[in-house]
Point group: D2
Chain length 109, copies 4
Amino acid sequence: MTETQQLIQLLTRFRDERDWQQFHNAKDLAVALNIESAELLELFLWKSPEEADRSKVAEELADVIAYALLLADKYGLDISEIVKDKVKQNGEKYPVNKAKGSARKYDEL
Amino acid sequence: MTETQQLIQLLTRFRDERDWQQFHNAKDLAVALNIESAELLELFLWKSPEEADRSKVAEELADVIAYALLLADKYGLDISEIVKDKVKQNGEKYPVNKAKGSARKYDEL
Amino acid sequence: MTETQQLIQLLTRFRDERDWQQFHNAKDLAVALNIESAELLELFLWKSPEEADRSKVAEELADVIAYALLLADKYGLDISEIVKDKVKQNGEKYPVNKAKGSARKYDEL
Amino acid sequence: MTETQQLIQLLTRFRDERDWQQFHNAKDLAVALNIESAELLELFLWKSPEEADRSKVAEELADVIAYALLLADKYGLDISEIVKDKVKQNGEKYPVNKAKGSARKYDEL
């Protein structure tokens, strides 16, 4: 088993021990992911990037990753595969010669 | 190297080839993570949970994970470690005997 | 009719002409509000606060307000009343003598 | 003064009494808006649309509107004007004969 498969096993076991599968439809998992992302973002509110508390970032980031992994599991998606596919796709949208040093979106390059 | 370390290597290489490190401060990475989470959520808008397009979910989820991994890298956090720590912590907040079958928040259990 | 009541009338008429009331349950309206907020936030991504495009901000902000008004309508809430109530409540959480010049959350003041 | 101008006056007075203008750049206001939208959304998490607590919805919605109004003030935007402009624009993107009874996005109509 890969690292993310092991984490998914840990998370689904935690979920099943609590009979939470009934609540974990894909839409609510996506809602939960958004809420956790916002809690992570809140650590930076009214602050410069350096001022966020590292240990709180770790906690909120863990929540984000947990829901992302549960969503991947829901759809039977392999983390490495989807990330590699997306990086490839982004390589075409953002070719080095056009995108280098630019923060523009691909449709404005 | 573990799976997530390999993915982080892939992502930071992609970033560095494009000189994007200058834009990738922790706050903007957290902002980007929120935007990608919302794009994922949009696939479920006005729909029942089953109606989202699986291949689009894969793409948007990949973006979410990419920014989560870049944030972890920014703070030198190990994915497995922070997820395992959080699951442990949640086990104390949500003991099986209290949380079983309930969708309530820990402070309402 | 007040200004926000007039806007709500405009928005619900637009919705009803298109038979969209069937999709506009409160949960999906809250989801839509989050998506629009993220689109607004995207105008600031990788940028300093001054660099966002004002006319695009106007458009995305209008979408945010539209869904906020539709949610208020859904629950029969009066905009002025709920905002005034919240400001009052915040005045107690953030008394001037404690909160002046500080960006801390009320539970850390 | 219109209703939203009065609310903006209330909110900016509250802000200025606390010397908070220094924190309220447009980007952080957009971040705050996203956080409040997510707190509103959390009231619906793992629930059917009808199960959210109306008085909590009122509170979180007030926060969303407050930051939306502060952003409008930041850019000197008139709420009624931008909402009316957007409704007009949406009328072109979603003509009644095409959009009636459909939840599709304009580019899929």
